[in-house]
């Protein structure tokens, strides 16, 4: 490896020796692609004309009134595919092509990353195989169908807890057997080096656009940027541009599930402790001896017991702050945003909105708060409505 892939004590490349050659090759292809203007031009062109970048930065009037400052939504929900995931999958798929790979493989939880990988494969003429926990296959049928429509093969994973973490293990296994022909498109800023850095690179366009738009409109940096954190890719993408600007507060929102005190949540940074799984050292939800625990969140995209190592480092340094929102708070925020802004956010993104709403009254009127609306909620409709019905109707 040319780089250590470390973020302070976090990160690294903790995989079987058998995967090292592939990760080394990927690292050097990525480092070369970064310097290659033709690669960047092709990526930018696809992001603009196929995927619809730049996405709008929208001043949300009702949210601004409620929270008591200038609140902007970064509209990644309007990106092709319905979430920020597309930024990353197009980038990695182009990298795979550059490396001469013919097959994309991916893990998926909610199915969003799987869908975004399937779309990228269809666009670029690459075979796609997506590993998905059998539990998630059952509860995310529309996304399974979407992946199949794009020509991807969806493989239900029956091992372990049959959820996202097991899908990652299974994709790693399959990759170990097929490294010569396949490229593992990792869905978030976790995993072994170089993934946390590659995925951040492809997602940092979110923060770059936020900065440019605010500069043009208000001539200033934001006061704070908030984003939900599953593995941490949309948050890292929104934060990266502002990390060197300590006056910009960075706030990540983790899923508190049924409540932090119940143990049924996915608040890795808040309630976990450092450990090693899926290729890097980071915070981890684990038992006393180091067995990885299952996470819980109403939103499948946040239902992950690990988190990207750079978030662990931002937390440890005090550079970013991590707060949480429960399932119920996220549902409330989802319906509130529908009614008051005419926007249906993904359940994942609803956590960021919910946490922002909890800060009402704590801001100066001229403060600028940007919430990254990482995805749209159409995929969550059935699930969200039945959860609301179970609570006795819409809030």
């Amino acid at each position: 490896m040319q780089l250590s892939g470390r973020f302070g004590p976090f990160g690294g490349c903790f995989v079987s020796e058998l995967l090292i050659p592939a990760l080394e090759e990927m690292e050097s292809a990525w480092l070369a692609a970064r310097e290659d203007s033709a690669f960047k031009a092709e990526l930018d062109d696809l992001l603009a004309r196929w995927a619809g970048r730049p996405t709008p930065l929208y001043r949300a009037p009702a949210l601004s009134d409620t929270i008591g400052c200038e609140v902007y939504l970064k509209r990644e929900d309007l990106l092709h595919g319905g979430a920020h995931k597309t930024n990353n999958t197009i980038g990695q798929a182009l990298l795979a092509k550059r490396m001469g790979r013919t097959q994309l493989i991916a893990e998926t939880g909610a199915g969003q990353h799987g869908v975004a990988t399937a779309m990228a494969g269809a666009l670029l003429g690459l075979n796609v195989r997506v590993f998905m926990g059998a539990k998630d296959v059952a509860r995310q049928q529309p996304n399974v169908r979407r992946m199949q429509l794009f020509g991807a093969e969806v493989i239900p994973v029956e091992s372990g807890s049959r959820s996202l973490k097991d899908a990652i293990n299974e994709t790693l296994r399959y990759w170990t057997e097929t490294v010569a022909t396949s490229f593992y498109v990792f869905g978030t800023v976790a995993g072994p080096h170089p993934y946390p850095s590659i995925v951040k690179d492809f997602q940092r366009v979110i923060g770059e656009e936020i900065r440019a738009d605010l500069q043009a409109e208000l001539g200033r940096l934001p006061t704070a940027v908030m984003a939900c954190v599953g593995g941490g890719s949309n948050a890292m993408g929104a934060f990266a541009e502002f990390v060197p600007h300590p006056e910009v507060r960075l706030i990540g929102v983790e899923p508190a599930g049924h409540g932090l005190e119940t143990g049924q949540h996915g608040a890795t940074l808040i309630a976990g402790r450092p450990g090693c799984v899926h290729g890097s050292i980071s915070y981890l939800l684990q038992d006393d001896v180091g067995q990885v625990l299952e996470a819980h969140s109403i939103s499948a995209g946040l239902d992950y017991p690990g988190v990207g190592p750079e978030h662990a480092w931002l937390k440890e340094q005090g550079r970013a702050q991590y707060v949480s929102a429960t399932d119920n708070e996220a549902l409330d925020a989802l319906s509130w945003l529908c009614r008051n802004e005419g926007i249906l956010p993904a359940l994942e993104s609803s956590h960021a909105v919910a946490a922002a709403m909890k800060t009402a009254g704590q801001w100066q009127a001229e403060d600028v708060l940007v919430i990254n609306l990482s995805g749209r909620g159409d995929k969550d409709l059935a699930h969200a409505i039945s959860a609301m019905d179970a609570r006795g109707g819409v809030a």
Binding site: C13, F14, E17, L172, T176, E177, H278
Partner: protein
């Protein structure tokens, strides 16, 4: 024979595991190292399995600690991990188990486990406890060469006899990589006979001989071939290709699952099956060491 293996500070020729492989080779045999998961199907039954392995002629015992997320393992060993976790087997139980095995058998003991269990136990404490329990060598499946420094340092600070730096090589390992491995590796080289995960397979990969020749030219350690070694024919093929010994896991774990789990569980049958399979595997190593090689063959 002491001059045929270069002396190495981190892999002294006196460590029991390396010595055991050489002693097998001096008899003209390959070393047989079966792998099982501690706590599968339960701790007591694992003791029966160990005795059965020893009765069948195992030379070295390799143990896995059950882990929730084992990406280097195929379905057979994953299932063993799940069984062991479901009956509550912890790393502390595993260490106590090894101490009990050590009291009954003087076979060298190797571990193959995942890093988080070492980290959460505390790296130094882990190696101290492992050495105290009687472990001779440790391979951490998800710690490749570039991340192995802290592990080796922790081990060196508490247990000078224990080998903490067993490393893996495969056909994908470049010569440059093998040279780096040679710098730090100890005990034995874990040669993966095919690129993939643990499991059973039909045939041992064709190019194994040239692969092992290449490893041997660059890494001055005995070479054990593992991953997919699931029949006496595989053992013969690996030995003919120039292995110093073989590692077999899934084929044994499958027999444990077949007889040691479920309503028809029969520990005696399980032990008998394990012993007879081990004996067949061991027989296939006998008199095969470097048979296929030129008359000038030596340890190197």
């Amino acid at each position: 024979m002491s001059d045929v293996y270069p002396q190495r500070p981190d892999s002294t020729p006196t460590n029991p595991l390396t010595q055991c492989i050489r002693a097998c080779n001096d008899r003209g045999d390959g070393a047989l190292m079966p792998f099982i998961v501690i706590g599968d199907p339960d701790l007591q039954a694992t003791h029966a399995v160990v005795d059965a392995l020893v009765a069948g002629g195992a030379d070295i015992l390799e143990f896995g600690f059950p882990f929730s997320d084992p990406p280097a393992d195929g379905p057979v060993i994953q299932a063993a991990d799940v069984r062991a976790l479901n009956n509550g087997t912890t790393p502390v139980d595993c260490l106590a188990f090894i101490a009990e095995v050590r009291a009954r058998h003087d076979h060298p003991i190797a571990l193959l486990l995942y890093y988080n269990l070492v980290l959460q136990h505390g790296q130094e404490r882990f190696f101290r406890d492992a050495a105290d329990a009687g472990v001779d060598a440790v391979l951490v499946a998800d710690v490749p060469l570039e991340e192995s420094g802290p592990l080796r340092a922790a081990a060196a600070s508490v247990a000078d006899r224990l080998i903490s730096n067993v490393l893996i090589a495969s056909e994908l390992s470049t010569d440059a990589r093998l040279d780096q491995v040679a710098e730090v590796a100890g005990g034995y080289l874990y040669a993966v006979s095919r690129v993939g995960i643990t499991g059973e397979q039909q045939d041992v990969a064709a190019g194994l001989q040239s692969q092992l020749d290449r490893f041997r030219r660059r890494v001055p350690l005995p070479v054990l071939v593992g991953f997919g070694i699931s029949s006496p024919d595989h053992v013969s093929a690996a030995m003919a290709a120039g292995a110093d010994g073989v590692i077999s896991g899934s084929a044994i774990v499958r027999r444990i699952a077949q007889f040691g789990v479920g309503p028809s569980r029969d520990i005696d049958k399980m032990s008998a099956a394990v012993t007879s399979f081990t004996a067949d595997m061991k027989a296939a190593t006998r008199g095969t060491w470097r048979k296929a090689r030129s008359a000038t063959s030596s340890h190197l």
